[in-house]
Symmetry: C3
Subunit: 342 residues, 3 copies
């Protein structure tokens, strides 16, 4: 189903192999050798396609699917239609991800430096790197093996990048060190000055920003996201953290491992996040806060105080979710009492 | 009035021609041959300039204007000063737009590929295209006639672009097909991976993003806006939709025709908009929603449920506008009752 | 402490010189010749480092610091530990900024045009400019002395830039005039079309955007921020105004001197700000407003009406801060009255 101009399908795979890759259970009596040619969403999957179910919103699509097989939690297996094999797994979406990676692995890195790239003689590239046209790599840069640097990206002096990274088109990096297996999407800005100055009516005085940005292994940073370098200590993004598009990370922010930060969220200077924190889209955190591990910050929340580990907060100013729902209920009830308001 | 270093004035035009271009009515007795040399806002227009009136906030400026003529709805014509010709039209701003286009058409495309552009031999450019320095066009790209690609833009492999498009400086496109007469402003990011992964404490698992972005005819996409490609099906922007700067469009979003999306709004994955939907600045829509045609979403609204066609919603969580105003009124009343609060 | 790969330390300086640079008072009996080798935050400063204290949140760090000297307001001097010299000043952070600039001045501009830059023959560069690889400077551009243009930046035809400016990587400028000592961070977009059109069901009609952007002296504009040019009059950023990352400035906006605009804030078309206005992160202002000098707009505020000079407003819709706190208090009280709500 994927457009072959953009995606190369490495299938087909027999159903047994599909189940293995996804860590799913093939039901008794299923045809283990049945050919699975592709992956597809429930509503467009055909009789040679694998699909998955993990959102009750799409239960009608499940019941009507023509997929050959469907990754699904045991409790929903009864809704899978007769012609579709139910591949049971606790984590259908994770299983789908692994199988889809087998069908459509990331495009291979094609080693070589384009003649229209500009690489400073003192920069060092690991083996097997691909450097596209218009890329500019300044003095002293160190890049690990098998990285792909897309067209017109800019890597400023002395930046270090680990192995197996991908740096998107028109991205720019300075004053930073990047781990292994990191993906930076197009237009990412990493390492520029933080918003640091002493406000003064006679002219704000710039505070030199003397830290770096350090990004751990296995991170993904979305398009046009900005991460400022630290003012003294570093701005840190922990290993395995995923950041969406158009996110702002201020100077000295420290983000733990495995966090998820959705598009257009913003984190002000010196705020610290533990591990596995989730920030919804357009959420905003003021500076110098401490957000405990596992905390969940709802979309558009405005967080002005510390959040304990494991807490879920909503609203602006953000409050624990139960309070938020009560506030909202009160407000909506009052908003409907037309007579009493005026 | 426009700075001649940046804008070339194709005027003057006689008043009669002005009225024709704008579809406005020239009043009896007006001097049809009067020369109109330029367009200008009410407060700076001189005796050879055309102006327009469409916002009551500027009624004082209307009464004091020195413009030669003013596009205006009939009901306000009485406020036009004696020296100014009232050109009557139901849509003064639309009429102004057409007339201003006649004075200042878009700068011509100057055909040619700059020697410092990099165009893959397998890419095909239509006749009359202008490709600026530093542009990188990869293998298999197809671009229609009379397009202008500005400096340092990047068009990744197999992308298709229609005719009469303009792609701004430092923009990047991949995995997409773009219609005719589309304008992409500088720094736009189209077609990169969506934010798709299966969250997992042992490491989030990337979900290959196997769809495309398709952009209809006559769209305009603002600077540094990001549109992720679909995860399976496509991300779609319908014909005639205008998107402002710094907007985030998640994977699998489907936007209908003629929508207006103001700066810094964000639409989460798989949400669908009908036709002629308007989203205010900084509004946010969660994923998997259905927004009916003609719905209006206020600035900063946080939409967490479906919105029926034609509805106007405000606030976070968003509610119909009447409820919102009642909620706000109650809250402001309570906020002023100092004694009762404490 | 700063990574020497990225920052060159011009110290050490004797303590007496440090006090002079910062305009701070050296206490009686202090060793004026003591060597200060570096600057550092309180918690990491060692016995040769200067630090500063200006946020009560870090009082514990002050009491435990090992810094040689600490810039501090007189009223907190009693908390400085015995081994640390208290350098008294009313503005510790401003003093730190000046001293840090002495240790770490901005990296010098290295004059020269990289052979892979493309500079139109009709463009004029002042003496001592540095133009990096991949930069594209179009016809008629005028750039003052000692500017640094980073890699892959694009400066469109007839733009003027003052002296001692820095334009970041992958930034793009058109239809604008930039003052002296302006810093534009990577990915900034200045001068593109504003979001101007006459909405119409048969197709929105583009309104030619005939103004410019003018940026005063001593401004700093953050990464990936977008500033649209005026539709008729100019979009103006006053001297000494600092704008953070991912900010949207609509067409015809006029911003006064010394304003501070934090990340992801957005200002809609034709709104005017006086001098020394502060906008918090993610704040949004609708169009055609007047914001008086010295007004403070809280983070995430949604401003829908004029704000008088000196006023502080919060919330959405924004209200004066005292009202906002009362509203919030009422709401939180109601939200906690579980019994009464249902």
């Amino acid at each position: 189903m994927a457009d072959p101009r953009f995606f190369a399908n490495r299938g087909p795979f027999p159903l047994k192999r599909i189940a293995e890759i996804g860590g799913a259970t093939l039901p008794d009596g299923a045809d283990a050798g049945r050919t699975i040619a592709d992956v597809a969403p429930l509503d467009t999957a055909g009789p040679n396609d694998l699909s998955w179910f993990d959102n009750k919103r799409y239960l009608d699509q499940l019941r009507a699917t023509k997929a050959a097989a469907c990754l699904i939690a045991a409790k929903f297996a009864g809704s899978v239609p007769a012609g579709t094999v139910a591949l049971i797994t606790d984590k259908p979406y994770r299983a789908y991800a692994l199988i889809a990676q087998a069908f459509y692995p990331a495009p291979p890195v094609v080693p070589g430096v384009h003649p229209r790239a500009v690489v400073h003689p003192s920069a060092r590239l690991g083996s097997g790197c691909e450097v596209a046209a218009g890329v500019v790599i300044e003095a002293g840069v160190r890049i690990g093996a098998h990285c792909r640097i897309d067209a017109n990206a800019v890597i400023d002096a002395n930046v270090t990048v680990g192995a197996d990274c991908r740096i998107g088109a028109n991205a720019s990096l300075s004053h930073c060190q990047i781990g292994n297996r990191v993906t930076l999407h197009p237009g990412v800005r990493i390492g520029q000055d933080g918003f640091g100055f002493a406000p003064d009516p006679s002219g704000h005085v710039k505070v030199p920003q003397l830290g770096r940005v350090t990004i751990g292994d296995d991170c993904e940073i979305g398009a046009n996201t900005t991460i400022d370098r630290g003012s003294g200590s570093d701005t840190v993004v922990g290993a395995g953290t995923w950041i969406d598009n158009l996110v702002q990370i201020g100077h000295n922010v420290r983000i733990g491992r495995g966090c998820i930060i959705v598009a257009q969220a913003g984190i002000s200077g010196s705020t610290r996040l533990g591990d596995f924190v989730a920030l919804g889209g357009q959420a905003g955190l003021t500076g110098h806060l401490s957000i405990g591990s596992g905390a969940q910050i709802a979309a558009q929340a405005g967080v002005m105080g510390d959040v304990p580990a494991g807490e879920t907060v909503c609203g602006a100013p953000a409050v624990p979710i139960r309070e938020f729902f009560r506030q909202t209920a009160v407000l909506q009830r009052l908003g409907k009492q037309k007579g009493k308001v005026e």
